[in-house]
């Protein structure tokens, strides 16, 4: 096992969470991650504000009695705030909020005795998350799949670690973005994180709700084949705040709109109907295949239990081997 303050505080064997990926991380994935010794999370996504989102109660059932948490996109939750009460009634192991101000939800989460985990993409977002009483922060680097910011993990993690050490040393720090194997877990620990959030690698787990065609397309590519864009959200008419962008596999849509972000932002919803039609026929030249740069480290699907076990075994080897490079 790998022991950190995270494993101690949450009673885990391994300091590994799955990202609460919307429409991907259901109860089957979250339950499998928790049973593997990590902490599984169900993706609450847009909190029902976009339609086609999970029945949280049913997904908690699918976790098979394992202790799992739930995550939401904070700015969307703000449009459907009662969803946090529904989620808390399911007794989640934690609530994981990303992309927006967690403040308005903090009191209800704390009153329920549920730990709050807040994901940040910049140093500038840290103080608000600490003020909301987060038990743990997640520093998410730009290499992450799906929505995120512009800062990369390598310096964001230690910079947030230093800031927390000065201002709130009890707050735990996790890393997200670019972590698909044990090398990434070991590196994140070196940089000052106490655990990791794994997206892309578990997006391709057998238990994930990811369409098979999307996984096949993504694992055929390399990490060079993703792009961060604001154009796609604008064109499909999903009103993401300006500071967040969407990392997806390059396709015909991203290439057509490359370098035309201002034009896309000026025409919100321009391709809404086309995008929905493409979704219904699973046309991945138009519909986003959501994966991070770490897709270049993913070569096959597989059960979450093996993914977590392999990741941790490799991290242990890296950590032990690293110490042996130090010669006295």
């Amino acid at each position: 096992m790998i022991e950190t303050r995270l494993t101690q505080r949450f009673g885990l064997t391994y300091p590994v969470l799955n990202a609460p990926m919307a429409l991907v991380a259901g109860g089957a994935l979250a339950g499998a991650v928790s049973r593997a010794g990590g902490l599984g999370l169900i993706g609450g996504g847009y909190a029902g504000t976009l339609g086609a989102e999970p029945n949280l109660a049913a997904e908690f059932e699918r976790a098979g009695g394992s202790r799992v948490g739930v995550g939401f996109i904070t700015w969307a939750l703000a449009q459907a705030p009662s969803q946090i009460d529904h989620a808390l009634a399911l007794k989640p192991a934690c609530v994981f909020l990303s992309f927006g101000d967690p403040g308005p939800f903090a009191a209800r989460i704390h009153a329920a005795g549920v730990p709050l985990i807040c994901q940040v993409q910049t140093l500038g977002q840290v103080d608000a998350a600490v003020a909301a009483g987060a038990t743990a922060l997640v520093a998410q680097g730009t290499e992450a799949g799906g929505h995120g910011g512009a800062r990369a993990s390598f310096s964001l993690i230690p910079e947030v670690a230093d800031h927390l050490a000065r201002t709130s040393p009890e707050t735990l720090l996790l890393a997200a973005g670019g972590i698909a194997d044990g090398r990434g877990l070991a590196a994140a620990l070196m940089l000052g994180a106490e655990g990791v959030v794994v997206g892309t690698r578990l997006w391709a787990a057998d238990e994930a709700l990811t369409p098979a065609a999307a996984v096949a397309r993504a694992i055929a590519g390399t990490g060079d084949d993703t792009v961060r864009t604001r154009a796609v959200d604008a064109l499909r008419g999903v009103a993401w705040p300006r500071e967040f962008s969407f990392r997806i596999m390059r396709n015909r849509l991203t290439e057509t709109w490359a370098g035309r972000e201002s034009e896309a932002l000026a025409n919100p919803g321009l391709l809404r109907a086309d995008y929905e039609a493409a979704r219904s026929r699973a046309d991945l030249d138009m519909v986003a295949t959501v994966a991070g740069e770490a897709i270049g480290l993913v070569h096959a699907r597989g059960p979450a239990a093996s993914i977590v076990a392999n990741l941790v075994d490799e991290a242990e080897l890296c950590l032990v081997g690293g110490a042996q490079a130090v010669k006295t």
Copy 2:
């Protein structure tokens, strides 16, 4: 000491190079890094094609007899290819080529018996560097200051490591981008690198040729205050290939042109005269202050010897501490 294949192959005490930063890494910095146990590099920059560049022979003198290498911007060197012969006549410890095809220079470098180090920003650039006979590759993440690409270090390093393990296992791998302290060195080793190239932290070394006002401005900021842009090179009329962008501190110029990259690219040299005038009056609201995201980890200038010693001491502590987190 920290032993890797890099330290063995180059006879170093520590697996640390300074980035050959144009107009910043002169002989004083390179010599100090080599005397501190790493490998110092003099920045040959645009190989004289932009004017105002170093007299390489004088900078090699300033290294004070220490064994140092030299780096060039490859696409610029292609416009002044005789510069590689001048550089090789100075008997550099290595030649470090970034941003362009190293192939045309490889034969002369090998004939001189000088090791070639090639920096790459994508997986897709690796095969050309291997084909050029590089002794070592540097995987440079987008978090780096100055020119670079879009991929971040966290997954680029292990993906390149895996590719080299399959195709050219003798080729060494270094990491660049976001590494300013021992945590970064330790993390890079976990990800599969065998050494690191440090830019921003040594950009702020006492021996660097960096203007004091630029360092003061940069260290007053955080890692949130840099931006990667193609607009500035276009506006100042420096013809960088499309795939590379410039990471600098945000200032009035970057904010004015944010989101207007296509417009800037369509008007090359639009602000050339204004930019030169601003440079002559050291107006940092217009002229670029070149720093990477790791500037948030840099809080003061200091001698290169202390920077390298502290970085290595911290890395050793991280590596030993990481192994202790593994419980059997």
